[in-house]
C-alpha cells in the first residue's frame, strides 16, 4: 500500500490490484477516518476526499493503520442485462481474442461480471469478469459519439454507456436496460458490488 499526497483535501491510496481496492474501499466505507467526505474507488487506488481544514496527515495515518482483509467482490445484488450482440467492433474483438464472434458472445454472456467502481460518467460502471480471454485493448481512436445503451469491452472491463457520449471502448452490442435513471433511488443500476449477467437476445 502506498499513500500519496493529493493536495490538502485528498489522500490517494494505491494498492496492488482490484481485489485490494475492493477490500480497502469496504474497510474505509465501514469506518471512514474523521474528515473524509467521499471515497472514490478506481482500478488500483482509492481516493479519500477530505473536508477542507482537516489534516490529511491524520487521515493518511488512519489509512496506514487499517488492515483490510483481502476478499472477493461481495455481491450486493444481481441483475440481468439483455444484449443484442451486434456491435460495430464485434469482428475486431473476435479476431483479437481468437474466439470468433459466437465465441465472444458465449464468453461475455456466460461470464459473471461484478461492478468494481464507477467513473467516466454518472452511472458508468467498470465491470470485472472471470474470463481472462476477454481482455482487449481500447480502440486506437475514440469515437466521438457512442450511443446510450452500448455494451462495450476494454482493458479487462466491460461497461454499459448510460448516455450518448464520446468513448474509446470496443462495442459489443446494445441493451435497452436503462442503467442511469434520476427518477430511481439510487439512480445507478450498476453500483460497486452489483453482480451482472448479460443475456443474448
Amino acid at each position: 500500500m502506498r499513500v500519496l499526497d493529493c493536495g490538502d483535501t485528498g489522500v490517494l491510496v494505491e494498492v496492488a490490484d482490484l481485489d485490494e481496492v475492493v477490500a480497502l474501499h469496504a474497510a474505509l466505507a465501514a469506518q471512514p477516518p474523521p474528515g473524509v467526505e467521499e471515497l472514490v474507488p478506481a482500478a488500483r487506488t482509492v481516493l479519500l476526499r477530505v473536508s477542507p481544514g482537516h489534516d490529511t496527515a491524520a487521515v493518511a495515518a488512519a489509512v496506514r493503520a487499517l488492515r483490510p482483509r483481502p476478499r472477493h467482490l461481495a455481491a450486493a445484488e444481481e441483475v440481468e442485462i439483455p444484449v443484442r450482440y451486434d456491435g460495430a467492433d464485434l469482428p475486431d474483438i473476435a479476431a483479437a481474442t481468437g474466439l470468433g464472434e459466437s465465441g465472444v458472445v458465449a464468453a461475455h454472456s456466460s461470464a459473471t461480471w461484478t461492478v468494481a467502481f464507477c467513473g467516466f460518467a454518472p452511472g458508468f460502471g467498470y465491470l470485472v469478469g472471470d474470463d481472462p480471454r476477454l481482455h482487449v485493448p481500447r480502440r486506437a481512436e475514440a469515437r466521438t459519439r457512442v450511443p446510450a445503451g452500448s455494451v462495450a469491452l476494454a482493458g479487462g472491463f466491460t461497461g454499459v454507456y448510460p448516455r450518448s457520449s464520446p468513448g474509446g471502448w470496443q462495442l459489443l452490442g446494445r441493451t435497452d436496460t436503462v442503467v442511469w435513471d434520476l427518477d430511481r433511488d439510487p439512480p445507478g443500476l450498476l453500483r460497486p458490488g452489483v453482480r451482472v449477467r448479460f443475456v443474448p437476445v
Binding site: D5, G7, L12, E38, R44, L47, F117, G119
Partner: protein
C-alpha cells in the same frame, strides 16, 4: 412567490450551490460554485443559509428583472453593476423593487460573478444539489434568456451588513500554491523544476471542467498508461499532448493522466477566477 426573469446571460450562466456530495462512487462529481469563497459571501450578504443556490455568470453579461421585491447581492469578479441604469456596487446588499432590472457587466478582473437572492434560487434539486454539472449533464439546465427562476422563501434572519470587503482580485498574474503529487514521480526532476519556476498562461480553452494551460513542456520520466484514478479540484493533470489541465468544479470523478501537483484549496478560487491570458506561477507549499 418572487422570481428572477433572465433577460441576458453572456457566455455562460448556471445555477450553482455548494455542490453534490456523497455520490462519487456512482461516478457523480461535486460540481458547485467554481469560486466557493465569492459564492459563500454572496449568500452571507443576503443572510441566506450556506448552500443556498445562486447564479454564476462567466465574464458578466447577465441581466435579470425582479418579479416581486427581491434582495440580492453580486460578488466575485469585480466589475460594473447596475440597477435600473444606476450604478451599484459588488459586495453590497441590493434591494430590487418589482420590475427592477439588475445588470452585471463584464468584470474588470477575474472571470466569474455570483448573484445571490434572498431565499435562494429555488429550482428543483437533483441528487441533493441545485448545481449544474456541465460535464456530467446533471442538475438544472444552463440559464438562458427568458428563463424565469423562482426565488425561495426568505430566511428568518435579515441581512446584518450592507457591504463586505473581499480580497483584492489579482490582475494578469496569479500565484497558486501547490502540493506536489500524487504522480510527480511520473515526470523528470526537470519537469517539476519547470512547473515551479515557469509561467503558464490560461488558454481560451477554459470552462467549469478545467483550464487548459500553455507553457513550457513537462517531460515524463516514465512511459505507459496510468490506470484511471480519482481526481480532486485543483489537480494539474498532464495529458499526452503536454498542455496541463487545471481541474475546476466540474472535473471528472476519475482521470487517466498523471497529476503532477494539486493547487491547495485556499487558492482554488483564484484558479477559478483566472481568465484566458492570465499568467500563472506555481509555488510549492510542500
Amino acid at each position: 412567490m418572487a422570481a428572477l426573469e433572465v433577460l441576458e446571460t453572456g457566455v455562460l450562466t448556471t445555477v450553482q450551490d455548494a455542490g453534490r456530495v456523497g455520490h462519487a462512487s456512482l461516478g457523480v462529481g461535486r460540481s458547485g460554485a467554481a469560486d466557493a469563497v465569492s459564492y459563500a459571501l454572496a449568500n452571507r450578504l443576503v443572510a441566506n443559509p450556506p448552500g443556498a443556490a445562486a447564479l454564476e455568470a462567466t465574464l458578466g453579461g447577465l441581466r435579470v428583472r425582479a418579479r416581486g421585491a427581491v434582495t440580492a447581492a453580486v460578488t466575485g469578479a469585480p466589475g460594473p453593476v447596475g440597477v435600473d441604469g444606476r450604478a451599484a456596487a459588488v459586495n453590497t446588499v441590493l434591494h430590487l423593487r418589482d420590475g427592477a432590472e439588475l445588470r452585471v457587466g463584464v468584470p474588470d478582473r477575474g472571470l466569474r460573478s455570483y448573484l445571490a437572492v434572498r431565499g435562494g434560487v429555488s429550482v428543483p434539486p437533483v441528487l441533493g444539489s441545485r448545481s449544474t454539472d456541465t460535464l456530467a449533464g446533471l442538475g438544472p439546465d444552463r440559464v438562458t434568456p427568458g428563463t424565469v427562476l423562482p426565488v425561495g422563501a426568505p430566511p428568518p434572519t435579515p441581512p446584518v451588513v450592507d457591504l463586505a470587503p473581499d480580497a483584492a482580485f489579482p490582475g494578469h498574474e496569479v500565484e497558486l500554491r501547490v502540493v506536489l503529487g500524487p504522480r510527480h514521480d511520473w515526470f523528470t526532476p526537470d519537469a517539476v523544476h519547470t512547473l515551479l519556476n515557469g509561467v503558464y498562461v490560461v488558454s481560451d480553452r477554459t470552462d467549469r471542467v478545467g483550464a487548459r494551460l500553455l507553457g513550457p513542456p513537462l517531460p515524463r520520466a516514465r512511459a505507459g498508461e496510468l490506470p484511471s484514478e480519482g481526481m480532486v479540484p485543483g489537480a494539474l493533470q498532464i495529458p499526452h499532448d503536454g498542455d496541463p489541465v487545471l481541474f475546476l468544479a466540474d472535473h471528472p470523478v476519475t482521470g487517466g493522466y498523471p497529476v503532477i501537483a494539486v493547487v491547495v484549496s485556499a487558492d482554488l478560487r483564484w484558479a477559478a477566477q483566472a481568465r484566458p491570458g492570465t499568467r500563472l506561477r506555481f509555488r510549492r507549499l510542500r
